[in-house]
Amino acid sequence: MTPRILVVDDDPALAEMIGIVLRAADFEPHFCSDGSAAVDAFRNSAPDLVLLDLMLPGMDGLAVCAAIRAESGVPVIMLTAKGDTVDVVAGLEAGADDYVVKPFDPKELVARVRTRLRPSSEPTTDVLTVGDLRLDVAAHEVRRGDTVIALTPLEFELLLALASKPQQVFTREMLLEQVWGYHYKADTRLVNVHVQRLRAKVEHDPDAPRIVTTVRGVGYRAGSSA
């Protein structure tokens, strides 16, 4: 079954071109050119991944992202002309998993799409603990006590990677490779923002993290089981 990709972009030429590229890579593109119609299109087409332009008429791209994220953990990749940190962080914090700056290499786009669609880690029956959280790997669930904490697949992968080797320090580059699947130099801001998002969801106090701790100058590490 070919993966379905929803392309939300208001420039018809670009949307068509992306469609051509995706088809050539054996994906099935669906299109939407208006922000306010995007959420409906999402519901209707039930894609496996969303390519979302940020500058949209109708509803702003960030709002669309947040709306989709509220409903589903489907991977969302931002397409943006603005590569400034402020804009990238805003997009990532709204729920996107990755971003691609225009103009981009079509091969890079396809590679990122493929990576996001790749099935995540091998299912095991492991249950990991980190801090006061229990990670049920098979079910992709994180619990604190009895409450389930809702994480996107990417956030879960991030936490899992750290928790699998509790005392190992992961550099940002290592995390990019392991969690995002990028084997070349990608932007480490991805990691920064996602760690922040993760902390906001799982930490008791995001400003004094105990579960996902920072090792200055190196990277991150899962804290010890308290």
Binding site: D11, L14, M17, V21, K82, D84, T85, K107, G217
Partner: protein, 566 residues
């Protein structure tokens, strides 16, 4: 108040006492009012003192002279009167003792009646010694006559000079202390009794009192005048300094950013003119600053809008070019070649656009530093790894020499990566296939990355221009990595943004060495040099010191470049 606090206060007061001269000096330096008032008061005081003393001395002398003249004429009159009384007795031939005595009494009362000195006169009639006469009269003296004040010299003078008066100042002892007096001596010829000396001692304490009173009044008056002058000066200075102080404070507020502060304009005088001019200047400045700020905002918005507008169609072109490029095997040779050209030029256009927008951001001031604690060696390792394929293509090897030291620095990794990419790319491109050496070193304050190539090198003229925008050393040189001519300009801006710099050493035929130095701590400037620009293996020791860009031909160019222009 505890004992400790009292002791403490006393100790502080004692210490403060030693420090008060310097405090006064400081006050002097800082307060125009204090200086002016103090100077005026001191000078006025000096003037008043001089004038007062002069007046006092002059009047005192005058008073004395007046009194002395009066005393003199009185004494003369008295002497003549007494003499005439004695002379009237010579009418009878036998002047006996009783008659003489009664004459003496008559003379004494006549003298006393004729002298009218306030404060009293004392009188004495003394016999001139060394005479032998038929009869004598008793020497008399009034009760309070200061006999000890009559010096022998005076007596001699009086006896010798019988026709004139002799004066001598004396000091009269009285209940209130010593008072000044004047003794006048003259001779009397007493018939049959010989020559007698008449001494009149006048009390001058009234003159003294007058003089003292005048002096006191003068002193008080001067003091009051000086104080008044001081007060008036202070008021005047305040009147003048006040507006100046207001102007100074308003300037400070404007400089601090409150551009709408103004000086109140009242009246038509010079101060009001100052106020109006100042306000006019502030208005012009505020308008200019607002205009510039608005211009900067407009430019930033432009950059942002252009960024989006250009990039979307460019993405479409890029995607289309890439799709065609992938299928070029199935085109005709001409079409295939066309596709290749399209592909490479679209790449080039993309890079150029990105660089242009970056430079534009620097110019508009719309740049932010995303500082992160970074392991610089790791970052350099990554960039070198990126360039390995390209280096292999031209046959260069890239060696990294990472010295120990301070591993981490607070830098913007994206920008540092861009700088190192640029320097390494240039080194490989201009390295003529020879090895490229990268060094990383640090000290407590700064971290430095040096990229050395052994290629073409640059003449001093070229080296000075190499950081200019769009300037390329050899325009005909084949561009293997598609440089835009903006790489070094952007690198320099990136380095300067951190508070760092880029140093350059270059010699034609020997290659070049670029050293980027960044401060390790955020917000500081890199002042130290963990790595010098000149490489250790430079052929001959250079004659010029680092930082002086005036070498003769054949000598290497060494310099530090700063961002020029806006």
């Amino acid at each position: 108040m505890t004992v400790e606090s009292v002791a403490d206060a006393l100790r502080r007061a004692w210490l403060g006492r030693r420090g008060w001269p310097s405090r006064v000096a400081g006050f002097w330096r800082s307060s125009l009012e204090f200086r002016t008032v103090a100077t005026t008061v001191v000078m006025a005081g000096l003037g008043a003192t001089i004038i007062g003393t002069t007046i006092s001395v002059s009047i005192g002398a005058n008073l004395y002279d007046q009194r002395r003249d009066q005393v003199q004429s009185e004494s003369l009159r008295a002497t003549l009167l007494a003499q005439s009384i004695f002379d009237s007795a010579t009418a009878t031939e036998d002047a006996d003792q009783v008659e003489l005595d009664s004459l003496q009494n008559e003379a004494q009362s006549a003298i006393l009646a004729s002298t009218s000195s306030p404060g009293g006169t004392s009188i004495a009639i003394l016999r001139t010694p060394g005479q032998t006469t038929a009869q004598t009269i008793q020497a008399i003296a009034s009760p309070d006559f200061p006999a000890d004040q009559i010096t022998p010299e005076l007596r001699d003078q009086v006896a010798a000079d019988t026709g004139a008066l002799a004066l001598q100042p004396v000091s009269l002892r009285g209940p209130g202390g010593d008072a000044p007096g004047l003794a006048v001596g003259s001779t009397l010829q007493v018939p049959t009794a010989g020559q007698y000396e008449l001494y009149l001692v006048y009390d001058l304490s009234d003159a003294q009192t007058t003089l003292s009173l005048m002096q006191r009044t003068l002193a008080l008056g001067s003091l009051a005048l000086v104080v008044l002058i001081g007060v008036v000066t202070y008021v005047v200075v305040r009147l003048v300094v006040g507006p100046v102080r207001v102007a100074a404070e308003t300037s400070q507020k404007i400089a601090a950013g409150q551009l709408d502060q103004r000086i109140p304009e009242k009246g038509q005088d010079v101060v009001a003119t100052l106020g109006r001019s100042f306000n006019g200047m502030a208005d012009a400045m505020q308008k200019q600053i607002s205009q510039l700020a608005e211009l900067s905002r407009v430019q930033q918005r432009f950059v942002s809008d252009v960024s989006h507008e250009l990039r979307t169609p460019l993405t479409t072109i890029r995607l289309a070019g890439d799709v065609l490029y992938d299928q070029r095997a199935s085109f005709t040779p001409t079409a295939a070649r066309t596709t290749e050209l399209l592909h490479t030029q679209v790449d080039r256009f993309e890079v150029l656009l990105a660089d242009l927008l970056e430079i534009s951001r620097f110019d508009a001031g719309a740049v932010e530093l995303d500082l992160e604690s970074t392991r610089v060696v790791g970052l350099v390792d990554d960039v070198v790894a990126e360039f390995e394929p390209l280096a292999a293509e031209v046959g260069s090897t890239v060696a990294i020499d990472a010295r120990g030291g301070y591993l981490e620095a607070e830098v913007d990794p994206r920008r540092l990566r861009r700088i190192v990419r640029n320097l390494l790319g240039n080194a490989i491109e201009h390295g003529e296939g020879r090895p490229v050496e990268v060094e990383v070193d640090s000290d407590e304050e700064a971290v430095a990355v040096a990229v050395r190539d052994h290629g073409v090198g640059m003449t001093p003229a070229e080296a000075e221009r190499v950081f200019d925008r769009f300037w390329r050393a050899d325009p005909s040189r084949r561009r293997t990595i598609g440089g835009t001519g903006l790489g070094l300009a952007i690198s320099l801006e990136d380095a300067t943004l951190h508070g760092g710099r880029i140093d350059l050493w270059s010699r034609p035929g020997e290659g070049s060495r670029f050293v980027v130095t960044l401060p390790r701590a955020a917000g500081t400037t890199a002042t130290t040099r963990p790595l010098r620009a000149e490489p250790d293996d430079a052929a001959t020791p250079q004659a010029t010191a680092p930082g002086t860009p005036e070498p003769t031909s054949g000598e290497p160019w060494i310099g530090t470049t700063e961002v020029r222009g806006g």
